[in-house]
């Protein structure tokens, strides 16, 4: 009896030490569903490619939840090695210098070359400090595009290969769709991101001072400019005329598109993977619409998330993280990730790799987002937005849009009020990081 017990015990220790021989790298992410499957495939490939490290990818809920968990874990000295943080958390992570290890320093310490220049300017620039050094690893970047239902276009007598380019064209097409019996023309996911933030970059208008917060740590928002007031007011009018149907915050509106109620939706390019699986109609992608004017459209800014390296881990772990990031930056891996998910290839090498293989000729839908992002060299106000208390600001801005859609306020009133409230939060944030 005792012999068996000893045997079992020794076996336990043996297996435990076998696992310990490899350095474990804890990676918290928010890639649920199909995206999680694709990510796990990449992680497995890395783990199988070498014997020193094991990346343990753990789904920690949606972005906001995962960030909250990271903060709590940091307080308890149990932070993960690597965490995926959405763009909303970028200013928070950047200003928490003692909690993170900048990616450029991690790579330098481990003698692995990786520079922000390898990435597309609108992507690398967003995750770099003012000196152009890469602070986080851009992983899943996306840009909003217009998805549309080709079958509905055909039914309404529209050319299914010609999506509307401008908002006035979209209005005309929507009216045609309404005539053909559809309940609405279009809807939008992520209202405040797409209709306020990216809208501003696409029309080259400042969303906030200090280069939208990329050039300083004390910006103030100023998105209550006439064109945006006009745009939101127009959406409010379209809501009444059913040209537009408000479908809720975040990605809730997708249900209206998937079920065929609204034949058009503006949504993240990262939604392509799941949309291609769920919709029963032929799906196509067009450019994000714009209001015609001189120099418009500019370029879209990115959403999505980056990987941040947390402070307080061992040298071994950091070496492992550096190698994992190097692995993720490989053109072949990037290409796999981008082709499978619809997220943008973040490095130029990956883009060329995909292009040279003729992939975009076979899948034109997937090239739209990257073309939008590189439509013109980014300006001071089209490299993205970096704000403190960003998630609260998004919430206030979404509420402002809802107030217009439910006709409680005019667009001017709602945006003025949102700007005032946002700036109070920005003032608080600036005080908190001093």
């Amino acid at each position: 009896m005792l012999k068996y017990l000893l045997l079992i015990l020794s076996l336990c220790f043996a297996s435990a030490s076998a696992i310990q021989a490899k350095t474990r790298i804890v990676f918290w992410h928010s890639m649920g569903g199909q995206l999680g499957v694709i990510l796990n495939h990449l992680v497995k490939e890395f783990n199988d490619s070498q014997h020193q490290y094991v990346v343990d990818a753990i789904y920690k809920g949606q972005y906001a939840e995962s960030l909250t968990s990271t903060v709590a874990a940091f307080h308890a000295h149990k932070a993960p090695d690597l965490v995926q943080v959405f763009e909303v958390g970028t200013a928070t992570m950047l200003s928490s210098k003692a909690a993170i290890v900048p990616v450029y320093r991690l790579m330098k310490d481990n003698n692995i070359p990786l520079s922000s220049q390898q990435f597309f300017p609108a992507i690398g620039g967003y995750y770099s400090n003012t000196k152009g050094q890469l602070m986080a690893f851009p992983f899943n970047s996306s840009s909003p595009v217009l998805y549309y239902n080709k079958e509905a276009f055909r039914m309404a007598g529209l050319n299914p290969n010609k999506p509307p380019k401008t908002w006035p064209q979209l209005e005309a097409d929507s009216k045609q769709l309404l005539k053909a019996g559809y309940q609405c023309g279009f809807t939008t996911a992520w209202p405040s991101w797409i209709q306020l933030e990216v809208f501003s970059a696409w029309h080259n208008k400042p969303f906030a001072t200090q280069g939208n917060g990329l050039l300083g740590n004390n910006p103030r928002v100023k998105f209550n400019y006439p064109l945006l007031v006009k745009h939101i007011a127009t959406l409010g009018r379209w809501q009444k005329e059913h040209i537009f149907e408000y479908g809720g915050q975040e990605s809730n509106a997708i249900a209206l598109f998937e079920t065929g109620v609204c034949p058009m939706i503006t949504d993240s390019s990262g939604a392509l993977a799941s949309l291609s699986k769920t919709v029963k109609f032929p799906l196509a992608v067009g450019y994000l619409p714009y209001w015609p004017a001189d120099g418009v459209p500019q370029n879209t800014s990115i959403g999505g998330a980056a990987l941040w390296v947390m402070a307080g881990h061992s040298k071994h772990e950091y070496k492992g993280i550096a190698e994992f990031l190097q692995f993720l930056a490989k053109a072949k891996i990037q290409a796999y990730w981008s082709e499978k998910t619809g997220y943008l290839p973040v490095t130029m090498a990956a883009y060329n790799y995909i292009k040279n293989q003729g992939y975009y000729q076979r899948h034109p839908n997937q090239e739209i987002a990257i073309k939008e992002l590189n439509h013109k060299p980014p300006t001071r106000y089209s490299k993205g937005i970096r704000l403190g208390n960003y998630s609260l600001i998004r919430k206030i801005n979404s509420s402002a849009i809802e107030a217009v859609m439910s006709q409680q306020m005019t667009a001017k009133q709602a945006l003025d009020k949102a700007v005032k409230e946002d700036n109070l939060l920005l003032e608080q944030f600036h005080l908190s990081i001093q």
Partner: protein
């Protein structure tokens, strides 16, 4: 002769309660109070003493006042409707001769449902796209979309909260109704009092301690315990129409990581509830008849 010979024994017996109170109520409350004077970054790396600035930022923000107003309205609606409905149904059940236990069990059941589950149930029933209640309303020609219509969203969380808190009120009313001596009611009947007079002059005064207790509990419930319902049904939207104070504490603190402001909000919430409770004890209690 004292009951306890050992002078430390009583302290030993009350120790668990004291420890729980200190650990889970007093300590967090003091921490929140302290935090409300500081600005802290997300990872807690920096603290700044900023005095009353967190409070200043709150009171300068229109959306905070909006939250307070709708919370007051919400608690008034929930407290009054829950009390009224529970009293009405308890009185009816008290007169039922057959199956009264069955009725009582069914009416008390909702209390066993967690707020989040209650929220999900109501969300399904009233979902604009797939909800059965929305369907019925649309047949009646009423356009129901609580995702966009703030008033409808507010009504929906009121219904969910009333439904949930109803059972607790009902339970207490049934118990107190049964504790009313039959002889009093008989005496009133002999004196010629009709049903309404018996209720108003005999039952209602005798129920007043229970009613008062439930009023206090309902207000506290509406202020503190409705987080689960808001989180599952509306997340504070649309356009902040259901952003109750307790939900704002959560979303600003845990989602927004604005800890100082969240702490200041919980201190204000605490003060409001203390104030309301004192007010109830000062004024409403004078009308209460303890036997």
């Amino acid at each position: 002769m004292p009951i306890f010979r050992n002078r430390y024994l009583p302290y030993f017996f009350i120790a668990p309660q004291i420890i729980v109170t200190l650990l889970f109520f007093i300590w967090p409350a003091l921490t929140a109070f302290r935090q409300s004077f500081f600005l802290q970054d997300a990872f807690g790396l920096k603290h700044h003493f900023i005095g009353l600035k967190n409070y200043y930022f709150l009171l300068a923000s229109g959306s905070y006042w909006h939250s307070i107003l709708i919370t007051l309205l919400f608690s008034a609606v929930v407290a009054v409707f829950t009390l009224g409905l529970a009293l009405f149904i308890a009185t009816l059940v008290n007169r039922v001769v057959r199956f009264s236990t069955g009725y009582r069990v069914l009416l008390i059941l909702p209390y066993a449902v967690a707020p989040a589950i209650a929220g999900i149930l109501w969300r399904f029933l009233f979902n604009p796209a797939i909800g059965i209640c929305s369907y019925v309303l649309s047949l009646l020609g009423y356009h129901w979309n609580y995702l966009l219509n703030g008033k409808q969203a507010f009504i929906l969380i009121c219904i969910a909260a009333i439904w949930q808190q109803f059972s607790y009120n009902f339970l207490f009313f049934v118990a107190s109704l049964q504790a009313i001596p039959k002889s009093l009611l008989e005496a009133a009947s002999i004196d010629g009092a009709n049903v309404w007079q018996r209720f108003w002059h005999v039952i209602w005064p005798l129920l007043s301690p229970t009613t008062f207790f439930l009023l206090v509990i309902n207000v506290i419930y509406a202020f503190f315990d409705t987080f689960g319902i808001v989180q599952t049904v509306t997340q504070g939207g649309p356009a902040n129409a259901t952003n109750l104070v307790v939900y704002k504490v959560y979303s600003d603190g845990f989602l927004g990581m604005n800890y100082g402001s969240s702490a200041a909000q919980s201190v204000i919430l605490m003060l409001i509830v203390i104030f309301l409770t004192v007010l109830q004890f000062r004024y409403a209690e004078k009308k209460v008849h303890y036997q």
